[in-house]
């Protein structure tokens, strides 16, 4: 057990517990906050993997912008505690069951994949997660998707205006 492993387990446990809390908490605000915690845990993982840029972008974009929007909307609607009608127990059960079976299936599949046996993830080292190589790749090899995603944003913008305008 070295520090990395301890951190890995701690962050993973933190992430999973928070994710479950997102699911089970009745109050949407709590769900949002738990989801932010998940994002932090995932950012922690990124840092463990020395993907600093993604770690920080994850916090800026997800925790800082997206979740604020969520929080904003929930507050705007002022959804009260327990106002959400619950699905029927049986549907919930089926939902959990299908999610669980998806997990089991995929885990079993991964376990059986021989090519993955013994593959290690490079922790802490490696420079590809830093901003410099990423930026370079983004503006050379990936400049086309970068530019095209601007179209995506424009359309989202136009759309938000259409939908949002009273």
């Amino acid at each position: 057990m070295n520090t990395l492993e301890i951190l890995f387990y701690a962050l993973s446990a933190f992430a999973v517990v928070s994710a479950v809390m997102v699911l089970v908490s009745k109050n949407p605000i709590h769900s949002v906050l738990c989801l932010i915690l998940v994002f932090f845990a995932i950012s922690g993982h990124y840092i463990l993997l020395n993907a600093q840029f993604l770690a920080i972008v994850n916090i800026i974009v997800y925790a800082g912008a997206i979740m604020v929007l969520f929080l904003f909307v929930i507050m705007l609607m002022n959804i009260k505690l327990d106002s959400e009608p619950q699905k029927k127990m049986i549907i919930k059960f089926i939902g959990v069951l299908s999610g669980g079976s998806l997990l089991t299936l995929l885990v079993a599949l991964v376990k059986q994949t021989s090519q993955l046996q013994g593959k290690q993830v490079l922790m802490k080292e490696g420079t590809i997660g830093l901003i410099h190589p990423l930026g370079k790749a983004l503006f050379t090899d990936y400049v086309l998707p970068f530019e095209i995603s601007s179209v995506l944003f424009l359309s989202a913008m136009v759309g938000a205006v259409i939908i949002g305008k009273k």
Partner: protein
């Protein structure tokens, strides 16, 4: 690339056109002009002329099929815009015409990406560019609860399927270490598909997600509600151009990648095809609203289009292109009639043949094309599909299932014909001017010309 640049550019132009002019007619005409420009640019690309020389770094690969499909989809969009121009203005609160056109152009940009991507990243971005504007168009009728619901439902389903798509892509990356479509799926030494569970799982997830996008069963359940709830003009667009682009993307992904699935491909795909045909057709029979019937029928048609995935011969491309043209034109036509109806029940069509014989005839032609009756392009579309299927060595049972459901489809399409011709009543229809009718005649003419000489469509496909 021309198409991508020009469509994005035109989108921006449309966005700002509402600043430059308040005349909706002018905006509409700018949109149409832009469409022509786009078509022209794309054809220029077909002949090797680029607006801007651009190294796509292997993100996009422009082959003839893709560009040709682009052209077809653009022409379809042009026809769509041309016909439905006035109806588009009416959606929502009548103030967003230019925005809708901008969104159309953005969608077409996504379409162009989807017809030429060579990297899963571009697939992802293309699909998103396609989907996000659609969520908006679906909800464009802001005061209408059903439109809202449709939009929300579409959005949640779409986002969910995006998640699945991404997991699939991730798995593929995990297996191959690359996002390229041509990433090694075949072991060069043994010349056999590499047995990599992660790869298979990824592909299946990708398959599922794409099925979501093209509304194939069992991932179709959003479709009826969304198509029903969306403003009718936009349903027409969604069910045609957008769906077609989805299929082209589908084929691009699985043309090569499916090797990794090996034999299981021929279990999964028929399962999906059969269930799509089953669900689409059987449910369509029981619909009371024409719009909903058309929604289900579009599921059924998707089932037919999925046949193009079965084989890998040149016939698939022909088949899917012809199918797209036939299906889309006919659907655009039917919807163009439908938007003029005051309500969408079958009963509202009663006696249409008496009051508007020409319109009834046109609708009949469109429905015939959808049903695949000869002399219309729909027949050859189905024919080419069946041919492709047979060439691919599919089991005969699959063909039989297909034709049985094709016969079932006749059942519900002809309900409309019966209502129009054989049931008397007062049709609930708005005024239709001659110009509009003329446009519809044009569609019908294309359908019939293609129904007699389908090869006209392919003359430019191979050089």
């Amino acid at each position: 690339m021309n198409a991508i640049i020009i469509s994005a550019f035109m989108g921006v132009v449309m966005m700002f056109s509402s600043w430059g002019t308040s005349s909706i007619k002018l905006q509409r005409n700018i949109g149409l002009l832009g469409m022509l420009l786009l078509i022209g640019a794309n054809i220029a690309h077909l002949t090797g002329v680029w607006v801007i020389e651009f190294d796509t770094k292997g993100m996009l690969v422009f082959n003839r099929i893709g560009l040709y499909a682009n052209t077809i989809l653009f022409v379809l969009t042009f026809i769509y815009m041309w016909i439905n121009g006035e109806e588009i203005d009416k959606v929502g609160d009548h103030t967003h015409t230019a925005d809708y056109y901008a969104i159309f152009f953005f969608i077409l940009c996504g379409v162009s990406v989807l017809t030429s991507f060579d990297n899963l990243l571009m697939l992802f971005i293309g699909i998103e560019i396609l989907s996000i504007p659609l969520y908006i168009l679906t909800g464009a009728d802001k005061k209408n609860l059903f439109s809202n619901e449709a939009s929300l439902k579409y959005f949640l389903m779409g986002a969910f399927s995006t998640g699945i798509l991404l997991l699939g892509i991730t798995f593929i990356y995990g297996a191959t270490g690359s996002f390229h479509l041509t990433a090694p799926v075949i072991n060069p030494t043994t010349n056999m598909p590499v047995e990599h569970f992660l790869m298979s799982a990824g592909l299946i997830l990708l398959f599922v997600a794409l099925n979501f996008k093209v509304s194939a069963a069992p991932f179709h359940f959003w479709t009826p509600d969304v198509y029903d709830g969306a403003p009718t003009v936009f349903t027409s667009f969604m069910a045609t151009v957008v769906k077609a682009a989805g299929f082209i993307a589908f084929i691009r992904v699985f043309e090569i990648q499916r090797e990794a699935l090996g034999y299981s491909w021929f279990i999964i795909l028929p399962f999906v095809i059969v269930s799509t045909l089953l669900v689409g057709n059987i449910t369509a029979v029981f619909q009371r609203s024409v719009k909903r019937m058309l929604a289900y029928s579009s599921i059924a048609q998707a089932g037919f289009m999925l046949f193009a995935l079965y084989g890998r011969s040149i016939f698939n491309n022909e088949a899917i292109l012809l199918y797209i043209v036939a299906y889309s034109l006919a659907t655009i036509g039917v919807f163009a009639v439908l938007v003029k109806m005051k309500d969408y029940s079958f009963e509202s069509f009663n006696g249409l043949a008496k009051k508007h014989p020409a319109l009834a005839l046109l609708t009949t032609i469109f429905l015939f094309s959808l049903a695949g009756i000869p002399l219309t392009a729909g027949f050859f579309a189905k024919y080419f599909m069946l041919n492709a299927l047979l060439t691919a060595g599919a089991g005969l049972w699959l063909l039989i299932v297909a034709i049985v459901f094709a016969a079932v489809s006749v059942f519900y399409y002809f309900r409309l014909v019966q209502a129009m011709y054989f049931t008397s009543g007062e049709p609930a229809i708005n005024e239709i001017d001659k110009k509009y009718e003329f446009k519809l005649w044009l569609i019908a003419a294309i359908l019939i010309v293609l129904g007699v000489f389908p090869s006209l469509l392919f003359n430019y496909l191979y050089f």
